[in-house]
Symmetry: C2
Subunit: 215 residues, 2 copies
DNA sequence: TAGATTGTTAATCGATTAACAATC
DNA sequence: TAGATTGTTAATCGATTAACAATC
């Protein structure tokens, strides 16, 4: 059980379910049917039921789903029931923005270190955490378990640093650099490619113009 | 011609093709076959040819694709052959990080304004652009064409602000708030949900642990 | 011309939707 | 019990891959 590989399409939708359920929970909604949730989320009820049943039967016939229970269970599936220590590598604008964003902590992602190559940043504290120099990285990881590393460094450095981190035992890379990281088996990564996101928006906007020009 | 709706899956891949072609161009590679590109990108050659042929025949039998030509053409498809004026709404950490990131400008996304509600930020300049107060937004847009608005504000404000922007004629919203924006026809949006991205990474990491625990 | 590689059609695969029996 | 809604199987739809004729 639990051996079936879950498709990426499903995984991508889970956080969104989690978000909607969290909002329902905040509004003291106790139960919800797949139909009602589907209307709120603009997806089909069938898809919701199929997605959830990849992981188990969380509902009850004739009743629907208990919001709190389903929220908790999806949280477990996403690994939000445990804490992860995260470091940020690259204390530029984006790295600092991530460091200052406290919301991740609420979800169990604890910022434990910030690293950069720029000596002018050495010791500067962000939310109480001092920026350390890159040459302290190895020793730091040996003394403090690091589960996730956010990479907010130039693309030219990203692969090398990611490989170094993998070598030091970091198993998850949150990559903000504009490059693809091909990492060894047993190391996972997730890309945030802002430039690509903006280009997709630009495509849509251009398309809109094309359509309107046609009318 | 050009009427066929292109699937989202294809659109999402275009910026990645663009990035790889840009790198080839920098390395003075003149021509490339779908096969060679597919090996570099870890996709099938068939998919590359199918994707490109949604927009036209850019290659030549027996030769492959001219790198510079294909790069330019994909750029046009993505709307990168023209300039767009962009404003940033929300001058918090993330908004400032985006503002400081000069690379977008290179691609034709010109930052023309930054807005916030915090009076302490009023007039503070980021890359030479002063932060303006939200109540100046309407007049600003009337005097300066704004094509794209990046929304780096709390999720509770995002929908309202997005609707206001749409009402003022902004056609594209780059949304960083943790909420879904359902906007009127004729307004496009693209979400960057960092929390969801981190949860997907967390899922993969948790899965890794589950697999290893099983061995 | 012979070889290479595209553009495109056909085959396969996977994801989404529909339908409905099971059951609370 | 009757009504509601799930879990799950079957049908459909769309996306990916394979194959190959067209052609440079």
């Amino acid at each position: 059980m639990g051996d079936k590989v879950i498709s990426l399409a499903v995984i991508r939708r889970l956080p969104r379910y989690y978000r909607y359920l969290g909002e329902l929970l905040e509004n003291d909604v106790v139960r919800i049917s797949s139909k009602e949730l589907s209307e709120r989320m603009h997806v089909t009820a069938s898809q919701i039921r199929q997605d959830l049943n990849n992981f188990g039967g969380f509902g009850q016939q004739g009743y629907g789903y208990n919001v709190e229970y389903l929220y908790t269970e999806i949280g477990k599936i996403l690994g939000l029931d445990q804490q992860y220590n995260m470091i940020i590598v690259g204390a530029g604008n984006l790295g600092q923005a991530l460091a200052n964003y406290g919301d991740f902590e609420r979800r169990g992602f604890v910022l434990s270190g910030i690293f950069d190559v720029n000596p002018r940043l050495e010791g500067v504290a962000i939310r109480g955490i001092p920026v350390r120099m890159m040459d302290e990285l190895e020793e730091f990881i040996q003394n403090n378990p690091v589960h996730i590393a956010a990479l907010t460094i130039p693309k030219t450095k990203a692969l090398q640093v990611a490989q170094d981190l993998a070598g030091l035992g970091v198993k998850a890379i949150w990559n903000f650099a504009s490059t693809d990281l091909h990492l060894p088996e047993g190391v996972v990564s997730q890309n945030v490619h802002l430039a690509e996101s903006l280009m997709q928006l630009s495509y849509s906007l251009r398309n809109l113009e094309r359509e309107e020009g046609k009318l």
